[in-house]
């Protein structure tokens, strides 16, 4: 099972295995570099991409929608290295390193993988996007991560605790760059592909003779680009900001001030709780264990901030589902659930209460028993 990446070649979307994508990217990058001084670089690149696309199309069919890495490698071998006809091909590009390595910056050279970051990913998430984020980070199937969490919940509830903690701590991947980082991809590459596609489009339209054919092609190109944008999960923003609604100029500063005030008060309350074990001497759930009090306070702060932030987001005009008007409701429900969970555990079930209160030592015990088992191996 391999990860599949959608790419755009001259205005058509193709799905490649990750390994094939890397090889193709390296091939096209090398080609572009070799043609750097060629005045027709853009056109030649478009021709080459179209030739690759034609080879892809001949491989694909109703029962085959993905190009595997081996096929990409074969096609690259078939295409052959791109050589500048003006004779510049033999000259290594500046910064190629030692002269001996001049011929070696060839197709298929392993590119440096960009840095990965751990994010919450809301796309395809079941609860908070923690599992999807972990799956993207480790490049494994999200179902495996979910199963692992489910198992951990049975192990003294540690899965639940871990999940809730990560839910609080991890940032959300919301911009294209963050999305790319979550999957360990360079968004610059994605931008480059888009640029090339557009260039190919304009190159094509400029030299079109027949008006009707030109219109038809333009229409098809546009619809394909739209479809492709929905597919590609990196590089291209999945949304385009709407113009802000009327009244945003007054509402936004007020909202920002409110959110900042809540954040500052929340932070001071948290510091007060950590320092004195109580919030401003109000007797904040003092009969609960310390960590449960912190959890509840963070949950309450979130409860107040979330709807405010959701309103602000709607003013900025993000039309995507998770953060739409229903998003704020969902967000509040999430925090209500967290607070309710804590209250339920410590308020009603005395048996569970005891069990959870002894959770940190038990976790420690579990960790040391795993360590013992490991040492025995």
């Amino acid at each position: 099972m391999n990860k599949v990446i959608s790419i755009n070649l001259n205005g058509n979307a193709y799905q490649l295995e990750e390994g094939g994508f890397e090889a193709l990217r390296a091939y096209l990058d090398t080609a572009a570099r070799r043609l750097e001084s060629n005045p027709d670089k853009a056109e030649i690149m478009a021709d080459i991409e179209e030739a690759i696309a034609a080879k892809f199309r001949s491989l694909l069919g109703p029962n085959k929608t993905v190009i595997v890495a081996k096929e990409v490698a074969d096609i690259i071998a078939e295409m052959g290295p791109v050589e500048d006809a003006a004779g510049a091909a033999e000259i290594p590009h500046p910064g190629a390193g030692a002269p001996a390595g001049a011929g070696r910056d060839a197709e298929g050279a392993a590119p440096v993988p960009p840095a990965r970051h751990l994010f919450k990913i809301h796309e395809g998430a079941k609860i908070g996007g923690v599992c999807t984020g972990l799956a993207a980070y480790f490049n494994i199937d999200v179902t495996l991560v979910r199963i692992a969490f489910a198992f951990l919940i049975f192990a003294w509830g540690s899965g639940l605790l871990l999940y809730v903690l990560m839910w609080f701590i991890l940032p959300s991947a919301s911009t294209p760059a963050e999305m790319a980082a979550a999957h360990g991809m360079a968004s610059a590459t994605a931008q480059e592909f888009i640029r090339r596609a557009r260039q190919g489009y304009y190159e094509g339209t400029r030299t079109f003779g027949d008006k009707r054919a030109y219109r038809e092609w333009k229409r098809r190109f546009k619809s394909e680009m739209r479809g492709w944008k929905q597919q590609v999960k990196w590089g291209v923003p999945p949304w385009t900001p709407n113009p802000p609604p009327a009244g945003a100029w007054i509402a936004l500063p007020v909202l920002n001030t409110l959110i900042s005030a809540v954040s500052i008060i929340g932070f001071i309350a948290l510091v007060s709780l950590v320092a004195t074990g109580d919030v401003f001497g109000l007797g904040f759930f003092v009969w609960w264990p310390f960590w449960a009090r912190i959890l509840t306070l963070v949950g309450l702060i979130g409860l107040v901030r979330c709807p405010l932030k959701a309103i602000r987001r709607s003013y900025y005009g993000y039309p995507w589902g998770h953060w739409g008007p229903s998003g704020s409701l969902w967000c509040v429900l999430k925090w209500v659930f967290v607070v309710y969970l804590v209250v339920w555990i410590f308020g009603i079930h005395t048996g569970l209460h005891d069990a959870v209160q002894h959770l940190p030592p038990k976790l420690h015990h579990a960790a040391s028993s795993v360590e013992q088992w490991w040492n025995q191996q």
Binding site: N10, G11, N12, A31, L35, N38, P39, D40, E43, I44, D47, I48, E50, A51, A53, A54, R57, E78, M79, G80, P81, V82, E83, D84, A85, A86, G204, T207, F208, G209, D210, A213, W217
Partner: protein, 108 residues
């Protein structure tokens, strides 16, 4: 060094001439040219042909027009310009001279 290897640079230099010949015969697109050449000693690849075609167009030897195809997006169909035909004629004549030289040299 085999004969094949010795002639690498000569084949490379002659490629432009051959491409002119192929295009002169009929309007073709790049894959046609590759296909026709693939059955000869001058078999080449997209990586070489596309930059060459673009250079020839810049030198105004060839020209192209977009044509709809049954499968996939429109294709660039190449044809010779007047200058290209002139060049092909000159090169052909020169090649005849070389052939004659090869035949006659060393003969009694």
């Amino acid at each position: 060094m085999s004969v094949n290897e010795k002639f690498t640079s000569i084949r490379k230099g002659l490629l432009e001439f051959l491409v002119l010949k192929v295009i002169a015969a009929d309007k073709v697109y790049a894959a046609d040219i590759l296909d026709q050449l693939s059955r000869t000693e001058f078999a080449t690849q997209e990586g070489t042909l596309y930059p060459l075609l673009s250079k020839m167009r810049r030198e105004e030897l060839v020209d192209y027009e977009w044509k709809e195809s049954d499968a996939g997006p429109p294709r660039k169909y190449y044809q010779l310009t007047a200058k290209g035909r002139e060049q092909l004629k000159e090169t052909s004549e020169y090649w005849q001279k070389i052939n004659a030289t090869l035949r006659n040299l060393g003969q009694p």
